[in-house]
């Protein structure tokens, strides 16, 4: 590798800090510069990083830290604490209504993020908790999107509702809801097409679904490898549609996953699950503290 690994560098910085008896303001600033580099290398949004470093610095340069017996240790602790609090301090469960009622979940996100796969993964998870789940094919654009959902639904033993490719997604969603009520399903998962946040017509389509149907949880699916654009995407989806929860996919790769921090920081919405592979069982609970360590490369 051409560049020294930033996480190694960071480890050294922290080690040096820990070993120091006294810290100068310059010591703190120099080490926070390394932290900044590591966060940027992990794809955390530039603006989020700036804000983060500022608030850590304010705490770290405070008298109680500088005068403490182990100032280095204190700074490391602050970085970690602030990062975890930014990630959301505790794990959040996906909220479902009482089983006697129908809960509607809507998958949404950019193209190729992992919505269809995750919809099927979720369906399996909820089915194993005793729910009766209906998967709904609302992607009428991508070639073979319906077939993809059907194949995955079959693997999960979950019924797939489709009205073909010639209906508007909002009508398909309404039809599915009616069907679910009549046939005693209590969870409906809408698989929608991938769309860019700047595509007005496509964003309007999601708004329509929300206007015509009670969507309990609009779930933004985000590729964990996303770079600086993650904040733009999350902000627009949150403003225009409203995000209730986030699912981060493809964390079985070696990305540091800084997008998680960006999305959480700009929307304040909880990350619920992480995708850990292509298999339909590869969906796990999200733990903020583990993610914080991963982003820092520790």
């Amino acid at each position: 590798m051409a560049f020294e690994s930033l996480s190694d560098k960071l480890q050294n910085v922290f080690k040096n800090l820990r070993g120091k008896g006294r810290l100068s303001e310059a010591d703190v600033k120099a080490s926070l510069k390394e932290v900044k580099m590591a966060l940027l290398e992990a794809d955390v949004s530039f603006k989020v990083v700036k804000q983060f470093i500022k608030s850590v610095e304010e705490r770290a340069i405070g008298a109680d830290v500088m005068n403490s017996l182990t100032p280095g240790q204190q700074v490391v602790k602050i970085v970690h604490e602030e990062l975890i609090s930014l990630m959301g301090s505790e794990t959040t469960e996906l909220k479902l209504k009482n089983p006697s009622d129908v809960t509607v979940l809507m998958m949404m996100g950019l193209q190729g993020a992992g919505k269809t796969t995750t919809a099927a993964k979720l369906a399996g998870k909820l089915k194993s908790k005793g729910r009766k789940v209906l998967l709904v094919a609302c992607d009428v654009y991508r070639p073979a999107a319906i077939k993809q959902l059907q194949v995955n639904g079959e693997k999960q033993g979950v019924e797939v509702f489709t009205m073909g490719e010639n209906q508007k997604p909002v009508n398909i969603a309404k039809g599915a809801y009616e069907y679910a009520r009549k046939n005693n399903f209590n969870v409906v998962i809408l698989d929608t097409a991938g769309r860019l946040h700047v595509d007005e017509d496509m964003m309007e389509e999601l708004q329509q679904i929300k206007e015509n149907l009670h969507v309990d949880q609009a779930l933004l699916t985000v590729d964990a490898m996303t770079g600086q654009d993650a904040v733009n995407v999350a902000t627009v989806f949150n403003d225009k549609i409203g995000i209730d929860g986030v699912i981060l996919t493809k964390l079985d790769g070696d990305t540091r996953g800084g997008a998680a921090l960006s999305v959480k920081a700009v929307t304040g919405k909880p990350i619920l699950y992480i995708g850990m592979g292509e298999k339909l069982s590869d969906l796990e609970q999200f733990y903020p503290d583990r993610m914080a360590s991963r982003i820092l490369g520790m």
């Binding site: 070639p143 490898m225 079985d252 790769g253 990305t255």
Partner: protein, 281 residues
């Protein structure tokens, strides 16, 4: 920019633009060092001149010549690879349409036998482009699909064989091995073919794209990049870091989901887009 001098604030603004464009902190630091050096040597005082210098050097670095597209004119086998969901199948479809329009005889190999409905998806693209497809059923050995497709391409005197492959994360050893095997089969069965291996990178991807390119290069002789999804707000700046570090050029960009939304890479447009953001916030 409204800067009157080349000072720390000015360099900070440049840093922000480069990082927000996903060029990455390492490449950004290297670019800034180099720029500062040149500013000193050439006694540049004017901020706009300095910025011009920067823009020009990135543009020159990213420029590709016509020779990069030689495979379009040869009897060739094009292998399209990359991680999950980046746009491989769609790009194969678009490329097929483009070559078909040039009057070429094109065959597609559906070597993603893993993902649900991957074959059906590529079949739809083959129909759109009006080209032939050699398929495999779900679970079939992808290398054997490629073998069949190579035989078909030779027998039918196809101009270009485009092979779609399953998405695979570069840190999955066995899946990368599978790619090596596919590669070997093409080499062995069709040694005369002009080889082109394109790695597809999602333009919204951040620093991980560098690692993707690096790892795929370990198993295949990558000849170029297709950078997709540039129709959004992402800039795809990591391609600059990849070009500097690995010397792999971007050859095409994806700018939408329709068959005509594939363009030859244009360094001028790319650099303009990279530096455009400053004007809208």
């Amino acid at each position: 920019s409204g800067y009157s001098a080349i000072d720390d604030d000015f360099y900070e603004e440049i840093e922000e633009i480069l990082i927000m464009g996903d060029i990455g902190i390492n490449a950004t630091n290297a670019i800034l060092e180099d720029l500062k050096q040149k500013v000193k040597e050439q006694h540049i005082k004017d901020p706009s001149q300095c910025k011009e210098l920067l823009i020009n050097s990135i543009r020159e670095q990213m420029r590709v010549g016509e020779v990069a597209y030689r495979f379009e004119q040869e009897k060739s086998v094009v292998l399209v690879i990359g991680v999950n969901g980046v746009g491989k199948t769609t790009s194969v479809g678009k490329l097929a349409g483009k070559l078909k329009d040039q009057g070429k005889k094109v065959i597609l190999a559906a070597a993603d036998t893993f993902r649900a409905a991957a074959g059906e998806q590529l079949t739809e693209w083959a129909n759109r482009a009006g080209v032939e497809i050699i398929g495999g059923s779900e679970g079939a050995d992808p290398a054997s699909v490629v073998y069949d497709a190579v035989c078909a391409a030779k027998a039918r005197h196809a101009d270009v064989l485009l092979c779609d492959t399953a998405g695979r994360l570069h840190n999955k050893k066995n899946l990368m091995e599978e790619l090596r095997k596919i590669n070997r089969i093409i080499d062995r069965e069709y040694p005369d073919a002009f080889r082109e291996t394109l790695v597809v990178l999602d333009g919204t991807t951040g620093q991980n794209a560098l690692e993707q390119a690096r790892q795929f290069k370990e198993v295949c002789d990558i000849t170029g990049i297709i950078l997709t999804k540039l129709d959004g707000t992402a800039k795809g700046g990591i391609a600059v870091a990849i070009q500097s570090e690995l010397g792999i050029p971007v050859k095409y960009i994806g700018v939408g989901e329709s068959i005509e939304d594939l363009q030859k890479f244009d360094a001028d447009e790319f650099v303009n887009a990279l530096f455009h953001q400053e004007s809208n916030d």
